[in-house]
């Protein structure tokens, strides 16, 4: 991409070649009205209001690309007339219900109507009945809808559910007279608008999607509203608290919108979660799982005294990664002072994986982030149940498919209809569990620069290749030359005579041919079908930016060390940029800050997990702790960014810092530790209050700071062990959560009502003896559980899934550490 200079309204503006004029203008604080365009998505061209004049020609700023030296005028008298007419059209038959509308003034229709100075209406059409629809978690009022299709666009280009589409409105045709009298663009925009309304792709009554609510967030009017928020508050009453979502490692920027609970109860309550949807897209857990706070009436001094005693007695602190960096720092400081063992299995696995990765890569952290995945056009995902492990990674993959015309491969044992629905250019390979090493070797084989790879790896890869002679039938076109007699007039003699002429025709012919082909046994091992190579070759055309996402399946794999080294080799010797998906909210932060131990001692303090003495933000412990939405602090995200988060609602109890202070530390607030986070791990000595949390107009993320990717000394050994072809025999279970659930905190949220149980795909249930609701005993060498079967149409295949979000179901008991296991499943 080259930097170019264009001129907008007399102002010299620098931008990238090929950037849309609208984005260039926005990045430079020049206002061009636009309704239907969403940054990061493809232009919809529904509103046509972003009309500008570029080099004397009228173009739409949202889909016209900037060229060097372009002269752009954002308003001319003709454009102003068009824009006013467009706004008048939008106002035709729009109900005057602004008083009860949930948009309550945050309305783009209102804003642009005023901006364009619409003070009278010139157009009219007979309205059609448009009844409000309840789509489950979303409420749709077609009466308010201006059919800008932002919801459709975001669902297709960003989320990847493709749940919404435009359907026929069934209205009368526009009065023919308007065709002549109206401005041209306004007329054609109206023509389209008048024919359509938003409907569900499935044709069902209720939305059946991954329920992210992004459609309601992007809606410029009050047509799409979260059912849970509907008519509960006006926007202006809500105080917005900038924060970072505490549910997964994506660390999305959100704002908690809070207000008093009711007339009688002045206590603050979170009414909704909003996001800067142009730059960040939330998942259902982030948007609806906001009320997971630990409500504590007052400080429980007796419990606190007991906690102090327990801390004095304890030799181990076991904890989960749903804590802030500052708390992780405190735990580490306590370890250094009192010699506690810090036990966190999941973070330890990730930490070890990172260390093994560093031995080859020479850096403490992976090199890339999700933004790069958004921008890439060939993406591979290995070892992650993307849609539930990190929804943002899934959005990035989908975004790359749709907007960058990208392609990719999704390697995972559990086949996923949501991922498969992203398009034909995404190949899903459902390899058997434990075959992740083969997958990574295959990626090396296909994409790595073999001249630079360690020779042992090259020869190992070569050992999978063999030559095979096969007979192929080919259709070839042959030129057949025939001699025909043609009657022709001899011009000299004037006599008609027969002349022999050559006539050629093309004839298709089937030919059998013996061909030497290369057979890659790795393909067979990972279970890629015959057409894989052919499809891949097609998909790889015109691809120049590559991204690899690896997920938690690898960190807990029995051969995690090999996997880590392979991942490092791929990053080092191929064009792939690498992102690792940390398994929980702050797994990366914990892995960088804490020295973790493997085994527990004799007396354990559990923080958000069961211990001999439990301190917990879940409200079920011996001493209460604040949840992440009640705390100030920082969280380290998948994008290697240290993001600040704020307390959305008050907390009256004790926190970890109080315990630390009682044990001899001295900090008034836990955020005093923000600037002390270890520099050696890549953190910066920045004060919490100095950390920004916003996006710039050009989409630049100005949030916290990015970790420095510290160099690590390597010993030059880049050998990787061969893999064993072991397989798990029996019926398989997988440890993963359903979409919108991550942990016990999301399980507490009132709007997230996912049923916990043994998830089986609809397709599998229809062919097996099991039914939804059946009680089954899941048993293996590690233990047994009795669970109810829940039918899940967001997975397919035979692998059953066990969730971790419900504390009543101790799913981990069935797994040694790897996320897959075998178990017998029997009806009770």
């Amino acid at each position: 991409m080259n930097e170019i200079t264009i001129n907008i309204d007399g102002k010299e503006v620098k931008t990238q070649e090929g950037e849309y004029i609208l984005n260039a203008a926005r990045a430079n604080n020049i206002f061009i009205p636009a309704i239907c365009y969403l940054t990061r998505c493809s232009p919809t061209l529904a509103c046509r209001i972003c009309l500008v004049e570029a080099d004397g020609k009228q173009v739409y700023a949202c889909n016209a690309k900037a060229k060097e030296g372009m002269q752009i005028t954002t308003t001319t008298p003709t454009i102003a007339t068009e824009r006013r007419a467009i706004m008048e059209v939008y106002d035709v038959n729009h109900p005057l219900q602004c008083g009860v509308c949930d948009q309550s003034g945050e309305c783009e229709l209102q804003n642009y109507t005023l901006e364009m100075g619409v003070d009278s209406q010139s157009y009219a059409i007979k309205d059609v009945a448009r009844e409000a629809k309840d789509w489950g978690h979303i409420h749709y009022d077609p009466g308010l809808c201006i059919v800008c299709e932002r919801c459709v666009t975001v669902c297709k280009d960003m989320i990847g559910d493709n749940s919404l589409k435009t359907v026929a409105r069934g209205s009368d045709a526009i009065d023919a007279e308007y065709k002549e009298s109206m401005p041209k663009d306004a007329y054609s925009m109206w023509n389209k608008l008048n024919k359509s309304i938003i409907g569900l792709t499935s044709g069902e009554e209720m939305l059946d999607c991954t329920s992210c609510g992004e459609c309601a967030a992007v809606c410029p009017v009050g047509a799409l509203v979260d059912t849970g928020f509907m008519y509960t508050s006006n926007a202006w009453e809500l105080k917005q608290i900038p924060a970072t979502c505490g549910h997964c490692s994506a660390g999305c920027q959100i704002s908690y919108d809070v207000k008093h609970t009711s007339i009688e109860n002045p206590e603050e309550k979170i009414y909704r979660v909003m996001n800067e949807w142009n730059y960040v897209s939330l998942c259902g857990a982030g948007r609806y799982g906001f009320d997971y706070q630990n409500k504590v009436a007052a400080k429980d001094a007796a419990a606190f005294a007991k906690a102090l005693e327990a801390f004095k007695k304890a030799d181990t602190i076991a904890f989960t990664s749903t804590i802030t960096n500052e708390e992780a720092y405190l735990l580490q400081a306590m370890k250094e002072k009192f010699g506690y063992k810090l036990v966190n299995k999941e973070a330890k696995a990730f930490q070890t994986f990172l260390q093994n990765y560093s031995e080859i890569s020479g850096t403490k952290l992976y090199g890339s982030d999700l933004k790069k995945v958004h921008e890439a056009n060939f993406v591979i995902s290995v070892g992650a149940a993307l849609k539930s492990d990190n929804p943002n990674a899934r959005y990035a993959l989908n975004n790359s498919m749709t907007v960058n015309k990208g392609a990719g491969i999704y390697f995972h044992p559990v086949s996923d209809p949501v991922i498969e629905g992203m398009g034909k250019s995404l190949i899903s390979v459902n390899h058997a569990p434990l075959k992740e090493e083969a997958v990574l070797y295959l990626i090396l084989d296909l994409f790595a620069d073999k001249t630079k790879l360690p020779s042992s790896v090259v020869s190992y890869l070569a050992s999978f290749h063999s030559e095979k002679t096969i007979t192929v039938e080919e259709t070839i076109k042959e030129k057949v030359v025939e001699k025909v007699l043609v009657k022709k007039l001899n011009e000299e003699t004037g006599v008609e005579e027969e002349v022999e002429e050559e006539k050629s025709t093309m004839v298709s012919k089937k030919v059998s041919k013996e061909v030497q082909v290369d057979v890659n046994r790795l393909l067979e091992i990972v279970g890629a079908d015959d057409k894989f190579m052919e499809a891949l070759e097609k998909n790889l055309a015109k691809k120049e930016s590559f991204a690899l996402m690896v997920g938690p399946d690898l960190y807990t794999h029995p051969h995690a060390k090999n996997l880590a080294r392979l991942v490092a080799l791929i990053e080092k010797y191929s064009a792939f940029d690498l992102v690792m998906i940390p398994s929980l909210t702050n797994t990366l932060g914990v892995a960088l800050i804490c020295e973790l131990d493997d085994a527990k001692g004799s007396y354990t303090i559990g923080y958000n997990t069961k211990g001999d003495f439990t301190v917990s933000a879940l409200g079920d412990g011996d001493l209460d702790m604040p949840a992440i939405n009640q705390q100030e602090g920082t969280l380290t995200s998948i994008n290697k960014r240290v993001n600040p988060t704020n307390a959305a609602i008050g907390y009256n109890g004790y926190e970890l810092n109080d315990i630390a202070n009682a044990l001899g530390f001295d900090a008034k607030h836990v955020i005093e530790y923000t600037q002390k986070l270890p520099l050696a791990a890549g953190f910066k000595a920045e004060k919490f209050d100095d950390l920004p949390n916003r996006y710039e107009n050009d989409g630049t993320e100005v949030r916290g700071y990015v970790l420095q990717n510290v160099s690590v000394a390597t010993n030059g050994n880049e050998e990787v062990a061969a893999f064993e072809e072991k397989a798990l025999e029996g019926s398989l279970i997988y440890l993963a959560n359903p979409v919108r659930q991550f942990n016990e905190f999301t399980a507490k949220a009132t709007l997230l009502k996912e049923k916990a149980g043994l998830y089986m795909s609809e397709a599998f249930l229809s062919t097996s003896d099991f039914k939804e609701g059946d009680s089954v005993r899941v048993k293996n060498d590690n233990g047994e559980l009795t669970l109810q079967i829940v039918s899940d149409n967001k997975i397919s295949g035979a692998i059953a899934i066990l969730p971790t979000f419900d504390s009543k179901i101790n799913s981990e008991a069935l797994f040694s550490s790897y996320r897959f296991a075998t178990a017998s499943i029997q009806k009770v």
Partner: protein
């Protein structure tokens, strides 16, 4: 007179001020005898009896203007701003309030609060509404901003209460349904009401029917 005076001060051309005269004020008595005479003169002037006569006359005529408050009350002007009322729709007798929250927003003494919800009829319903009359300054902004002419001021001006903080809730303000049925709901004429000639000021939206 006042303006004339100003003029003259500004012009400053006329040396003798025309139209002015000195009030004939007697000099104050300086000696004891003079003071005594003034007292006698003022005391025996008989003005007292003029007043007494008026009272006597009216008493005999039985034309008494005293209002027997609180049994009787003065009529209040239609634009008077006293305790709020919630009006009902003339067509359907249902509540006019749509729960838009503008009154809550505009209230400068921050004494209005409301809770809304999505009701069974798919409408926005005001589930709770209260005004803290102890804080209300009866400025009339709520009535002025109300897009539905729902909240208005009424004529009930008695605000005595045992506490400084006292509330009025929605049900108390709402026109009782029997009054509504009897057609005795009074339209408010003060802040926020429809002015005469409103029709002429409105630009009509074309309709395709």
């Amino acid at each position: 007179m006042h303006s004339e005076h100003n003029e003259q001060v500004i012009t400053k051309e006329v040396p003798v001020k025309k139209g002015y005269y000195l009030v004939d004020i007697e000099d104050y008595p300086t000696d004891g005898w003079g003071k005594f005479k003034r007292v006698v003169k003022r005391t025996l002037r008989g003005e007292l009896f003029v007043g007494l006569w008026v009272v006597l006359r009216e008493m005999i005529k039985f034309d008494i203007h005293t209002i027997q408050y609180p049994a009787e009350k003065m009529p209040i002007g239609p634009r008077y701003r006293a305790v709020h009322e919630m009006k009902r729709l003339l067509e359907s007798d249902t509540e006019r309030c749509i729960g838009c929250g503008l009154c809550e927003k505009i209230c400068i003494s921050n004494c209005i609060r409301m809770d809304t919800r999505y009701d069974e009829n798919s409408r926005k319903e005001v589930s709770e509404y209260s005004i803290n009359l102890g804080r209300c300054i009866f400025c009339g902004y709520c009535a002025e901003v109300c897009p539905e002419l729902a909240i208005t001021h009424g004529g009930r001006y008695e605000n005595a209460s045992e506490q400084r903080e006292h509330f009025i809730v929605y049900e108390d303000m709402l026109t009782p349904i029997d009054q509504m049925k009897a057609g005795t709901q009074q339209e408010f004429q003060g802040f926020g009401s429809i002015t005469p000639h409103e029709d002429e000021r409105v630009k009509k939206t074309p309709l395709a029917y």
